[in-house]
């Protein structure tokens, strides 16, 4: 993509209304643009990151055997009256009347809808277990939206729902999602702490939250330092032993920590702030019973399936990743979600030789399957460097007349600032191997 034909409105100044670093950087780097309180447009660069995060989430859901569908944003209030949640849900629910004066709402979650879809389609034990998920925009009418996409009103969420014949089956589905979550966050370059959670308004008997450690997190966590020893490879393999070890280690939010007798010796107790990016619940027959879903068992009886629900805040993850990965100059995207892998800088767009060499390099980088953002504009080199550092692509490839005279280009690794002069062929080989 040529920057001269792209839409990347970066800003030098820090926006005055942004309090936390991810919000500031997302506005400055032209990732998002607020269009109403707590509601954002995703500008082209931000949308690319959002789609990459979504794709990692999707791949791990698919890997866990979950099946994707897509439910609508607008729901009928009647659905929520069946479960009894319509009146129980607070003012965070965006309630709407349509032109025929029917009560509708913008879905904050989908337990009721998926229960009805499954109920009307599935009648036999042979169609269980099944986990269905979707990635869809949700709305929660926060009284005081803040921190950019971290606590917005319209946000993108992955929510999965499992259906099992019995409690044992539910436990297996819950663990499969637990594994998917550990893998998802590890692939996104994040250290996530699973915290045993109170179950809250969704109800049920087993629940974990997944928190990213960051100073700007809204929750105070208390946990066993041994959690930090679990390696990325262990999280990616996520076998039964790793899960048993992780869930066996103490981790609580402040409120629950205060209540519990803490089993962790003081020298191993850590306290840090966390950003909640995922939440899983095993709630059993709450919805299947209240909404009249039964399936026939092998011996001809009828049972209410046992259900769980499993959420990941996809848009919030972008903020969490930036909180965990930035420096003074801007964002440092992990390779797995970077909007482009390479920023190609033409230092002298007014020099035909330099431009011709840079054009050629763009074609060859793209030919090697790399996503390239090519700064072909006629601007000063300093401004181009600042923009590239701000938007945080993993690699910068700099083409200038002095280097070309020597037959070299400069390759800069954004995360470390390391720069190296090398032939274009070597640079291409290096980048292609990443």
């Amino acid at each position: 993509m040529r920057l001269s034909r792209y839409f990347l409105p970066v800003a030098k100044e820090t926006p005055s209304d942004a309090q936390i670093v991810s919000h500031k950087l997302m506005l400055r780097a032209g990732l998002i643009r607020q269009t109403a309180a707590g509601i954002y447009a995703w500008l082209p660069l931000g949308l690319r990151v959002l789609r990459r995060i979504e794709q990692v989430v999707r791949e791990e859901q698919d890997r866990a055997g979950a099946v994707e569908l897509l439910m609508p944003t607008i729901q009928s209030a009647d659905l929520w009256r069946q479960s009894g949640r319509y009146d129980a849900y607070g003012p965070e629910m965006l309630r709407i009347k349509d032109r025929h004066d029917r009560d509708m709402l913008f879905g904050p979650t989908n337990e009721e809808m998926i229960t009805v879809i499954f109920r009307d389609a599935v009648k036999s034990y042979r169609d269980l277990p099944r986990t269905l998920y979707h990635v869809q925009w949700k709305f929660r009418d926060e009284v005081r939206p803040r921190f950019g996409v971290m606590r917005g009103r319209e946000f993108l969420m992955k929510d999965a729902y499992s259906f099992d014949l019995d409690e044992e089956g539910l436990k297996a589905s819950y663990e499969a999602m637990f594994v998917a979550y550990l893998r998802t966050f590890a692939r996104l370059g994040l250290q996530a702490v699973p915290v045993r959670a109170p179950t809250g308004p969704i109800g049920g008997n087993l629940s974990h939250e997944f928190h990213i450690l960051a100073d700007t997190g809204e929750s105070a966590l208390f946990y066993d330092a041994a959690i930090e020893d679990v390696t990325r490879d262990e999280l990616l393999s996520a076998d039964a032993a790793t899960i048993a070890r992780l869930t066996g280690l103490y981790a609580m939010e402040e409120e629950e920590h205060g209540k519990a007798d803490c089993p962790v010796p003081p020298d191993r107790l850590r306290t840090r702030r966390g950003i909640e990016v995922g939440h899983i619940f095993a709630f059993g027959t709450k919805y299947s019973a209240s909404m009249g879903m039964t399936v026939q068992t092998g011996d001809g009886g009828q049972v209410h399936p046992h259900m769980g629900s499993y959420g990941i805040g996809v848009s919030r993850l972008m903020g969490a990743i930036i909180e965990a990965s930035h420096d003074e100059a801007g964002i440092l995207w992990p390779q797995s979600v970077a909007p482009f892998q390479v920023g190609l800088i033409n230092m002298r767009a007014d020099d035909p030789n330099c431009t011709s060499a840079a054009d050629d390099m763009q074609g060859r980088l793209q030919g090697a399957g790399l996503d390239v953002l090519y700064d072909d504009r006629d601007e000063r080199g300093g401004a181009k460097f600042a923009t590239m550092d701000l938007i945080g692509l993993p690699w910068q490839l700099i083409v200038g007349p002095k280097g070309l005279a020597k037959g070299v280009v400069e390759l800069k690794r954004r995360a470390t600032g390391e720069r190296e002069e090398l032939s274009f062929e070597s640079a291409l080989a290096r980048l292609s191997s990443k």
Copy 2:
């Protein structure tokens, strides 16, 4: 994907509330499920088709140089007050009050929002021309939703917006989108007729609708038979001559036809019904002027950019494709949007040899990069054939004990019903070359 682990609730009976064939087939084939009047959940198979249609649309937008972003569904009424459309828009607009009693709405279109985003980011002629687009859920509160996704309330739309310095630039942007539309519909296997349109509530001075010819279309079209002579290859190459020829040929909706002096001799005048799947407008400075967007020109002056907007009904296209491509047994998906390319049928899931051979074939078909839906269930062959015909995958590969004894499988082409016995290696080679 194994059907035993998928979620594909097909129905034998025709749903009583569906009037047109695409609506009936989408419900029967388990593509969609109504969750409220005019609001649908996209079941896994339907979602796969929707994503494929969306991807064809996206590729042609990108090819035309448009840049993708994503605007939110919920908009502030203040935006629409700036353009004067808040009061002008009818009861199709879903109006909402948030918890602070602010007027919001579920976007039916995005002229206002994109104008503000562009206005606040772009100040110089050097950043023009630019075309931005997004693919997002829209809501229009139809008084009488019907025909399934063809006239639903929540629907997926691609809408693009172009910004040019002057009218000549706008004409070029409009033509680039015209080409993208011709290519998009041709790739989807559809014959689209561009109809010169009155401009309606979006305003402006040049507009075309794109209609798919189908007996169930809501519009009556009158057009020059020569339009049917334009070939798919001509549409895909869509050079200036093709466009001049197409736009020069007479095509009008009934109401406009009645008004005009028709230049087409009676023997060349065709009348058929059409489904509107796209609509493009060049409306000039309507929004840039009313919403105060100016850019600096090369000589230091200020101008209001000339704009156009360009919509495609992505979810509606699924209905239109089915209207254009089905038979008595079910859907016939064009290759470009088929949810899977191959339906693999194990005729005897209770026979270990047959199952082992079918399992092996699934692995090898997927290894060759083919999307396979594998019916591995222990059901009668007749039911499996009926399901595969109903869901309309381009190819069926049938593995049964008799064939295996002879070393052959059966390959069926869904569109023609042709069946052929051949070795598995030959079948794999045949399918891989498609």
